[in-house]
Symmetry: C2
Subunit: 177 residues, 2 copies
DNA sequence: TATTGTTATACTCTATAACTATA
DNA sequence: TATAGTTATAGAGTATAACAATA
């Protein structure tokens, strides 16, 4: 764990870790391919956990929790107009981001000032140093990811990233039906 | 939630849900492709959560928790010689599988009998009905997954599944370095 | 009255430790 | 003494409810 712990997921984890294993991959027609493959979730979820575990050393080196990094990512592209907006955009409870923001603000990585137009809300933005840390962590993570992706044949790598972007861009309700 | 709740993940969840978004995908060279893509974990983890959410209705229809289904999956291929072995194989604590096994046994989905050779251990196996339930749930899940995968171009779909099997077959330590 | 941010409380899930029964 | 299974306890992490400030 990094600082103050890392987010966790009441409902959303499955332990299908090493349950279902890949079996030899022969190229069949895409439509009726590999009917005995493991469940998608049984592959995707453990992979996600492993990827997060791979990020932890980088985060730790910068003394960031997963939540803190998530906030830096969310604020990096453009400032956010309220903490509630931020919380929703990163899929967190509004009460949970408070401690994270307190910490980041105290360390000078973000700015949090009342919105002059509506003094109830807080305008959230990254400081100069926040941008630097964000970029450093992100590139550190990217290096490890590229090393991992290098294990894949070019075609699989391309399809993997394409599919990931397609699927992760879908609203969760679409996936869940 | 299904029955008695679903496993959760102290350390392993990140809320990068809608944080980083896919940007338009143009085909570059595989090696230096899309340097501004979101972190892998930021795409894989939310996708995994969505996939699990998609499984929940199927599990609920059979009154199974995610853990229970995980156990059914693990016992389906071949019986297991002890609860500790099972727990480790599905990445769970040995104290946590007990309630799950109690429930599954009581409902006649698994058998749990002392090993004659070492009466400390319990031999775990699926009953006839356990096999049926396992198959029914699995095929219900598969239907939904195929519907989702149909959104992908054949090439991406193929690469995605290939990559998933390759990466999820790696020991987590390999991914985490 | 409704909303933003905050705090405090309760709840869920998980891991740790202690116990039993076998070996 | 060590291990498999079990139970009970304590610890994280999270969400719910209640509050103050502003609109």
């Amino acid at each position: 764990m990094v600082r103050g712990g890392v987010p966790s997921a009441g409902e959303y984890r499955c332990a299908m870790a090493q349950t279902q294993r890949a079996n030899s991959g022969d190229a069949l027609a895409p439509t009726r391919r590999d009917p005995d493959r493991p469940d998608l979730a049984a592959m995707v979820v453990p992979l996600g956990r492993a990827l997060m575990a791979a990020e932890l050393p980088v985060l730790r080196a910068h003394d960031l929790t997963m939540w803190a990094y998530t906030v830096l990512l969310a604020l990096g592209d453009e400032p956010v107009r309220s903490q509630a907006t931020l919380a929703e955009s990163i899929g967190a409870d509004k009460t949970r981001v408070i401690a994270v923001l307190d910490d980041l603000e105290q360390r000078g990585l973000i700015r949090r000032r009342p919105d002059p137009a509506d003094r109830r809300a807080r305008l959230l933005s990254l400081t100069e140093q926040g941008h630097r840390v964000r970029a450093a962590v992100r590139s550190g993570i990217r290096v490890r990811e590229e090393r991992l992706l290098a294990r894949l044949p070019d075609a699989d790598r391309l399809g993997f990233l394409n599919a990931l972007r397609t699927l992760s861009a879908l609203p969760p309700e679409t996936i869940a039906d």
